[in-house]
């Protein structure tokens, strides 16, 4: 059995002395694990890093075997993880950790894959933090817990929302939020887009932190409940953003 696909390189772990087990988030088959031989030849995987855009060939006799992987670096590398500034690198690590922790092997996730490629493109720009926040929203959506920020949870027809319900993940307008304000999650300004108020392109880190607190609430509740803790890099990212607004 063979799988050919483009993919995003996630991790490698030493397997014996001369092999590595690598994990790729592939476009066609979702998360794929396999063995590569550890040589100095970069085509065999030794030099690949998190976030590298690769062409993968996976080969095994049966579908549930670990399989041998051959990798080839794609010409259009979106980022070089080693050149990213500290916060962006932390966000990249968080992305990798979330994908690894939550994705199931061989389950195709085309929307999340495209969102991840988009995020990798954005890491080279100043908008990476906003892009990361949007990626977490897509990630929640792909995991089946998407936020519904288009309608008020109370059912009113207002189009301007200030809060997010921590129960339903729906937006809540200021009027209906009043009695429960302390229990609601504050909606970041960048999600409060309405037709008559164009969204600003400038990145406010405090706003990004507010957004990550919303996504973090649902990540912790739905995807990483008790006993299955949130990846450390995701927690570190929020702490670092708090410290370096």
């Amino acid at each position: 059995m063979e799988i050919y696909s483009d993919g995003i390189f996630l991790t490698r772990r030493l397997f014996g002395e001369s092999q590595q087990i690598v994990r790729i988030f592939s476009q066609n088959s979702g998360l794929v694990s396999g063995v590569v031989r550890l040589t100095s030849n970069p085509k065999r995987g030794a030099l690949y890093q998190l976030g590298d855009h690769v062409r993968m060939q996976w080969r095994a006799r049966l579908e549930d075997h670990l399989g041998q992987v051959t990798l080839e670096r794609q010409a259009n590398q979106y980022i070089s993880a080693l050149e990213l500034p500290a916060l962006a690198l932390q966000a990249l690590m968080s992305m990798g950790a979330l994908l690894q922790a939550a994705l199931s092997e061989r389950v195709r996730e085309p929307v999340l894959y495209q969102a991840s490629i988009l995020l990798l493109e954005q890491f080279a720009t100043k908008n990476w933090a906003r892009a990361y926040l949007e990626w977490e929203r897509k990630f929640l959506e792909a995991m089946g817990f998407g936020l519904d920020l288009a309608q008020c949870a109370a059912g009113c027809d207002r189009r301007r929302f200030d809060y997010v319900s921590p129960k339903s993940g729906k937006a809540v307008c200021a009027r209906h939020a009043e009695p429960y304000r302390e229990r609601l999650l504050s909606m970041p300004l960048c999600w409060r887009e309405v037709d008559d108020v164009p969204h600003s392109n400038t990145v406010d880190m405090a706003d990004i932190v507010a957004g990550l607190q919303v996504t973090g609430h649902f990540l912790a509740r739905e995807i990483f409940p008790e006993g299955n803790s949130m990846p450390e890099f995701r927690q570190n990212l929020l702490e670092k953003l708090h410290r370096n607004p």
Binding site: L47, Q77, L82, A86, Q90, P231, E232, F233
Partner: protein
């Protein structure tokens, strides 16, 4: 399990040895016990008794602190942060560095369960304060984990007002462009300097 089988199994677990090469080593030892086996046993016992981790830098040596930390010719205000003892040996082989080392014992990797508490991070801060270090050289591996570890070290030592430098990346001695990977070549171009 007989004695020979047990010896072969223990040897096969060493780096660089598989079951077949372990059998060859075992045979070589057992065929000449006086010349090979007994001296090896003595050397292993001596190493087990005397070699330990240096309480200062984390190096392996038979003195406490290690010879590098004790040497008066070393510059204590210069600290090179490395992942493993093997990296220290490599840098010593290369020569040219006269400062002290600090072996972290690994890189940060939550996936493998290695956080700052598992590494020698706190003793690094203590040494920076105690030795009045003026320069910390980051020589962690050029991997994402190495980079994250380096940034963690930067966060730790920045409040102590030290100069933080990092090993250069680029074309190796005798390296030909055609054989270099794209990332290294790009890093070399970015870090070019006046000729």
């Amino acid at each position: 399990m007989d004695a020979i089988e047990q010896l072969c199994r223990k040897l096969a677990r060493l780096p660089g040895l598989g079951p077949r090469s372990a059998r060859r080593v075992a045979l070589a030892l057992l065929e000449e016990p006086e010349e090979r086996l007994q001296p090896l046993i003595a050397a292993l016992q001596l190493a087990a008794q005397q070699v330990n981790l240096c309480s200062e830098c984390g190096n392996l040596d038979d003195t406490q602190p290690c010879r590098i930390c004790q040497s008066p010719r070393r510059i204590p205000e210069m600290l090179c942060v490395i992942e493993r003892v093997a990296d220290l040996w490599a840098l010593e082989r290369a020569g040219g560095y006269q400062g002290l080392y600090h072996v972290l014992g690994g890189t940060l990797s939550p996936i493998d369960g290695r956080g700052p508490a598992q590494l020698r991070m706190q003793s690094l801060v203590t040494r920076v304060q105690k030795n009045r270090v003026i320069e910390v050289i980051l020589a962690t591996p050029m991997t994402v984990e190495g980079q994250v570890t380096a940034q963690y070290v930067v966060d730790l030592v920045t409040p102590h007002r030290v100069r933080i430098t990092r090993l250069a990346q680029g074309v190796p001695m005798g390296g030909e462009f055609d054989y270099l990977d794209d990332a290294t070549l790009k890093a070399a171009l970015n870090a070019r300097r006046e000729f």
